[in-house]
Structures are given as C-alpha cells and as structure tokens.
Subunit: 342 residues, 2 copies
C-alpha cells in the first residue's frame, strides 16, 4: 500500500469513528434515564445536569466542583427487612464465638447463637453495638475485607434469593452513570461502615473505594510476626456518618459542598439541606418507598406504614416540599426497579 492510499484509508477510519461517536452521543442524549417514567423527578434531574454542565449556562459548574453524593441503604439498594451489613454482623457471630468460646453464654451472643429470629429482632441498640464491635473490629483491614467479600458472594436476601449486590435500583444506577458521563464525581455517603461498602462499591456502582464516605472507626498501625506493617480495625468511632455526621463527613473526606445529593430517610436530612443551601444550581432528591408490590412501602410520610429502618417522616416530606427537594416516588417515577426484572 502506498503512503497516499494508506492515508486515505486512515482518514476514512477517522471519519467513520466520528460518525459512530456522534450517533452514540445522539442516542445517549435522547434518554439518559431510560428506566425513569417521564415526570417531574426525571425532568428536574435532567434539567440540573444540563444547566450545570452546558458551557455558557448561567449555572455552569466547573468540572472540579462537580460533586454528587448518594446515600446507600434505601437510596441505591434495598434496606428492608434489615440493612445488609447488620445481617453480615449477625452471620459473623458463630465465627466470633468459635474463636472466643466464652462468649457462647454471654448476651447478646447467646441470643444470636440460639437462632430465635423473634428474640434477635428484639435486641436493643446496645446489644447490636456489642455485636458490631465484636464482628467489625479486632482484625486487620485485609482480613476484614476478605471475610466481607466471601460473605457477599455467598449470602442471599430472604425475599428474592439473590446476592445483596444485585438489589441495587436500576434508575439510580442510571443517575450515577449519567452524572459521571457529565463530569461529576460520584460519592457514596452512607451511615453504613466505610470499610464494608468499599469492598463492593467499585464493582457494584462504579464508585472507587476512595469515593466512599461512611461510618468509620480508627485503625492502628502495627507489625506482624514477619515484621511487616499492617492496620488493625479498632473499636473507636471516628465518624458517625449519619444525620449531621453526613455533612461533617463530607467536609472531612471531600472538603467541598456537593452540587447534588440523594437520600431516602431522616438520616439524610442534613446532607440534603446542606447541599441545597449552597450557591447556584443545587439538586437535593429523596426516594419515597411507596411500592409495596415491586419493593417495599414505608414512611410513615404520606400515610405509609411506619418503619425503624429508613424512616421517612411526614415532617421530612414537608421539608422536602418546602425547600424544593425532589421527592422520587418509586411507584410512579420508576419504570423498572431492578436490572434483572423481566
């Protein structure tokens, strides 16, 4: 092939690539949120992204400041009947008791070992805290990671008999991708354990480990028998990433006020309030679980059944309406809930 015809071939290739790219962009632009029904919630999200990322828009936000934060339990994935990390901790109790047999006759471990579900459900917050400390601390960060990864592979949720990591909401996965495609850095800001969520955040949500902000304990630097340094998870709380702890955690870990925040419960109230109070265009959105058929229905906002997990009070609903947060109705706004639905 002479250089001239080689160049023509190359130019054709470039032209074809450009056409393909433009076609893909046009397709993406036609509907960035295909699992959402057309409605107010979808429109507010799309309008926000366009206003903050279109050059020349009065509300344009430089890429470096494009931070979006997402609560996890109840916002990105199912939190009912119980937070999956709590189930992990309960499932770890037999291993803890095996390592320390003296715990077998000590509460709350005795109750957990009995397998009596009703008695376990009645455990107090203090009891639960003892279980969390026993199952989430005392090991190296690498050991914890390996244990959590193994559990996530094997565990199945009681309703759909699927791995917990498959119980993410497709419409929210689309929002994560849509924001990232428009230069946003997406963070998880969860009341759950930072180290726990980091185990799967990249694989499940495309969120890198360093973009997970969660409830975090101290670690302690030390040396193994081989002289190699490692970190041990300590029973000392550094950040309780819930309620006011969410904006505080965002400042500690990110340092910028988010442009957009998504939540679903009273634990997200301050994060949504803090986000929306920033200058310029801001998006605060809150998921209402009002779909008992396809997922769960709980509030008690809007007359929905009360819930200890993921409480969404009427006062929170009223604040959302007053402050211009988007209330996302699972029933009305979401065409599909899970990727594996028929």
């Amino acid at each position: 092939m002479n250089p001239r015809s080689s160049f023509v071939t190359f130019a054709r290739f470039i032209a074809l690539a450009l056409v393909c790219t433009l076609a893909l962009n046009a397709q993406a632009q036609s509907d960035p949120l295909p699992s959402w029904n057309d409605g107010a919630a979808k429109k507010v999200i799309v309008d926000f992204v366009q206003a903050t990322t279109t050059q020349g828009s009065p509300q344009f936000v430089p890429p470096a400041e494009r931070i979006a934060t997402f609560d996890q339990d109840g916002t990105l994935w199912v939190e009912k009947p119980m937070y999956s990390q709590v189930i992990y901790c309960l499932d770890r109790v037999p291993a803890v008791v095996k390592a320390k047999p003296e715990l077998a006759n000590v509460e709350p471990f005795k109750t957990v070992m009995s397998g009596n579900r009703e008695a376990i459900a009645r455990l107090s917050l203090q009891d639960l805290e003892k279980i969390l400390v026993a199952t989430l601390t005392g090991m190296s960060v690498d050991e914890f990671r390996a244990e959590a990864a193994k559990w996530l592979d094997a565990a199945r949720d009681p309703r759909w008999k699927r791995p917990y990591t498959e119980l993410t909401y497709l419409p929210m996965q689309e929002v994560l991708q849509y924001l990232r495609a428009n230069g946003y850095k997406t963070y998880i800001v969860t009341g759950g354990g930072q180290d726990f969520v980091r185990v799967y955040a990249e694989r499940v949500y495309g969120v890198p480990e360093e973009q997970v902000v969660g409830t975090a304990g101290a670690t302690k630097y030390g040396y193994g028998k081989d002289g190699k340094p490692f970190l041990t998870k300590e029973p000392k709380l550094l950040l309780n990433d819930d309620k006011a702890g969410k904006p505080e955690g965002i400042h500690l870990m990110i340092g910028r006020r988010p442009m957009a925040a998504f939540g679903n419960s009273t634990g997200d109230r301050e994060m949504l309030e803090y986000t929306k109070a920033g200058a310029g265009a801001r998006l605060s959105a809150i998921v209402l679980h009002d779909d008992a058929v396809r997922e769960y229905a709980y509030g008690p906002a809007q007359g929905l059944p009360d819930s200890k997990v993921g409480t969404f009070t009427q006062a929170l609903y009223d604040e959302a309406k007053k402050r211009g947060w988007v209330v996302i109705s699972m029933k009305t706004d979401w065409k599909r809930i899970f990727a594996w639905e028929p």
Copy 2:
C-alpha cells in the same frame, strides 16, 4: 467550499494534529523529569512508572489502583525556617486578640503580641497548641478558607521574599505531573492542617481538594441567624496525620495502600514503610535536604546539622537504604530546585 474539499481540509487538520501530538509525546517520553540530573533516583522513578503502567509488564497496575502519596512540608515545598502554617497561626494572633482583648495579657498570646522573635521561638509545644486552637478553630469552614486565602496572597517568606506557594520544588512538581500523565491519582498526605492545604492544593500542585489528607479536626453542623446551615471548625482532633497517623489516615481517606510514597522526615517513616511493604512494584522515596546553598541543609543524617523541623535521622537513612527506599539528594539529583530560578 464543496463537501469533498471540506473533508480534505478536515483530514489535513486531523493529520497535523496527530503529528503535533506525536511530537509532544516524543518530547515528553524523551525526558519526563527535565529538572532531575541523570542518576539512580531519577532512574528508579522512571523505571517504576514504566513497570507499573506498561500493558503486559509483569508489574502492571490497573489504573484504579494507581495511588501515589506525597508529604508536603519539606517534600513538595520549603519547610524552613518554620512550617508556613505555623507562621499563618502566629500572624493570625493579633486578629484573635482584637476579637478577645482579654487574651492580650495571657500567655502564650502575650509573647506572640510582643513580637520578640527569640521568645516566640522558645514557646513550648503546649503553647503552640493553644495558638493553633485559637487560630484554626471556632470559625466556620468558609471563614477559615477566606482568611487563609487572604494570608497566602499577602505573606512572603523571609529568605526569598516570595509567596510561600512559590516555594514548591520544581523536580517534585514534575514527578506529580509525570505520575498523573500515567494514570496515577496523586494525593498530599501531610501533617499540616487538611483544611489549610486544601485552600491552595489545586492551584499550586494540581491536586484536587478531595485528594488532600491532613491533620483534621471535627466540624459541627449548625444554623446561622438566616437559618442557613454551616459547619464550624471544632477544637477536637480527629486525625493526627503524622508518623503512624499517616498510614491510618491513608486508610481512612483513601482506603488503598499507595503504590508510591514520597516523604522527607521521621514523620513520613510509617507511610514509606507501609507503601513499600505492599505486594508488587512499590516506590518509597525520601528527600534529603543537603543543599545549604540553593535551599537548606539539615538532617542530622549523614552528618548534616540537626533540625527540629523535618528531622531526618541517621536511623531513618539506614532504614531507607536497608528497605530499598530511594534517597533523593537535593544537591546531587536536582538540576533546578525552584521554577523561578534563573
């Protein structure tokens, strides 16, 4: 212009752009670290980057795991005669005393207000802590940011009469850029205040605020008279990001063990040790200040004068040699130290 000739013009433009890009790449590839003299230190850095980023290399590291951490004071910029943040705190004392006149006759504020440099230099660590608490906490995070930014604009270092932000080491700026050009996420991991360094990290080092890990205090979420939420800096230490606190802070804020780490003092020892102990290719490097003419000379490693700021002991030097950390000699390895040098 007919479509055909328009396409030819476009193809020419693409071809020209490609030629320019290739030429720039060739130049960059010819010497990614032009301010470094050819020597062992430069070679180890270049070899590390090539080994970890070349597809098919046995030591190839996926982009998501490419994390590099840099101490700031003495590693990225000048720390002598005193850490610039300490000078900031001393400079803020008159404003604090003006707001609380009762402090004028209370130590250590009285000594600072006297302007007696020798007496100020003799202040104890406890005295210094009182000054840090008085000048770094009690205000909103936005007020602190504004005050620090104003000071950074106006303040000049005593030796070169330049803004502190111009006292960064050109060879290290090149390492930051070189790593980023090869897919590394660069973090600052400093004993200095996280909120202080965040004010200028992006502008000065190209490091985004969320990639600054530093000594961090708690904040408190509250509401102003206008009802708007804001965060107040509290006198409660969350992370002392020095010595063992550096790997602990890296786990808290990043969650991954760095592939490369750069430091210059005993405060960086654990970070360098932790980094190098990871699996696969790892780079730990330590800057030795042995250039009294162009910068400063202090150790006391290798017979250099002792120093309270940025101490580099002989034991640390011996550990560096034993564990295969690169010792970077400012005098021998760096062709130029500052970008503004003639």
